[in-house]
Amino acid sequence: MEIPYTVTARPDTGLWNAKIGVWLFLASEVMLFGGLFSSYIFLRLGADYFWPIHELNVKMGCFNTAVLIGSSVTIVMAWAGVKMRNYKMYFWNLLITILCAFLFLSVKFFEYKAKIEHYGVVLKDGTILLGHQPEEGYRYKFNADAVTLNFKEADPAYFMRYATKAFAEHGGAHDEHGGAATPTLPIEGVKFKTEDGKVTTLATNDFLSLKAAAKEAKKDSVKLTPVEPIGFNVQLLPQRLASHSDKTLAFLDGTVVEGKMVSDKMELHVDVIDTRAAPDADKSMAWAIMKDAGWKHAFDEAREEHLKKFKESHPGDDPMKSDHYLREALRFEIHGETPAAHEANHKQGLGFFHDMPWAEHHYPTVQIEAKDIQRWSNFLPKWNTYYAIYFTITGLHGAHVLAGALVMLYFLVFNSRWFKTDPEHLANRVETGGLFWHFVDLVWIFLFPLLYLL
């Protein structure tokens, strides 16, 4: 059976059917994204923090905008190619469009990756330190005196993964076997003593007999003491602990370790010091953490420079009421563009691409005490509502880019032969796909300024 009105117009609508279909679909897409843009407005108005501006990588966003605009031109050219019966023009333009779609997604991948690997630490006074964590992440180092297993959910394979030799007492984050290189102990190599003096390990068989013995004695937990001193070196992201204190660690399976916290310091390679939310930037906790007084000095110089600029361009205005000034002056970028930051950076080269993923920099490494931290996280939806709406809208948009690329790839592979047999039908298909593609471009035209620039 032949499907009617794929090429000729239906008399009552005056349009071929797929065109009506795609426009109805686009109308519903307008509603979908419209709802999300509306949420954006509400989240922005309700934000109780400084809404990030120029915090995403503007160069990458700008590049991706150009990629989408370029592909919008090529898809319409591909359509024109069919209409003009020029196969080469059709084929190459459609192919370039598809490649642009995948280029866009690759750039987006690197942008997401950068956010997942970047951390923000809110200090107790509201100052925010931004930076990267060492490869092994943020870890608590804890020396164990006793381990209490709760048989209901106890899973030695999970918590024993963090067992190491005991830490030197004043080791801090930089003890002799700190970091990723900390050798974990094999589960069968750690011997424990039960309360009645028996020696056992937590390897599967031993654990099962411990469990059976406890069941016989009608107990649901057992307290073990390590025969040789051991420690736990626990990664905090993803969340591995239910709770902790100076004297205890509680794992998610209900296992409680008693002992002593050796180090709960976070190591961070700082790239931004944001003092906007601190009551007084000069007394921010960041300066004690940064140790080297040179950073405060560089911050002061950069701030003075911005103040001078502000007074020249807005005479009589209060700088503390200008978001622009606050962002420039109180949010200090270690690799910023101001001469002061540049100098503080020990005259390291600051090229045009200094903020790109492949650029390597030396960032000052600091140790932050757990007691000074209000909260910390990487830049995922849990950091703030801005990142929540950022990932929601760009994720949905990315899904559209992928879908569009697959549809166009289908046309290229399976429908190209129509160029000879049924070119008008092919032209209509490309036009339908193109309309969707322009819509995807159109959403991005708003997303780019709203999320990256404004």
Binding site: I69, G70, H324, P449
Partner: protein, 110 residues
């Protein structure tokens, strides 16, 4: 709507020009976002005005909305009306203590 090969050939140059204009306007948007216009809502207005202009170029030229059948305009009219409603819902935050602070920061006290 009649898209004869000759007519399409005439449009090809227009498509290229629009593409270049869109790239240029993207650069303008980025540049303007670094200019301090005094208040941030001014930056917002200017930036979104440029984005709206870019969008209309795409819709009118690339999506051929400058010469389309009436039925499609009717569809989009409904869409735009509902979109307008969604984008003006925020005026009600004046009655919401939680959101009011942000509202005043953007639009000023009244």
């Amino acid at each position: 709507m009649a898209n004869s090969p000759e007519e399409v050939a005439k449009h090809v140059k227009t498509y290229l020009k629009v593409g270049i204009a869109l790239l240029f306007l993207t650069a303008v948007t980025v540049w303007l976002s670094y200019v301090d216009f005094g208040t941030h809502s001014r930056n917002m207005t200017i930036g979104l005005a440029v984005a709206t202009f870019k969008t209309s170029l795409v819709v009118l030229i690339f999506m051929h909305m400058n010469h389309e059948r009436p039925l499609i305009y009717k569809f989009m009219l409904f869409s735009m009306l509902l979109l307008g409603v969604m984008f003006t819902l925020f005026v009600f935050v004046r009655d919401d203590g939680l959101l009011l602070k942000g509202y005043e920061a953007v639009f000023g006290k009244h």
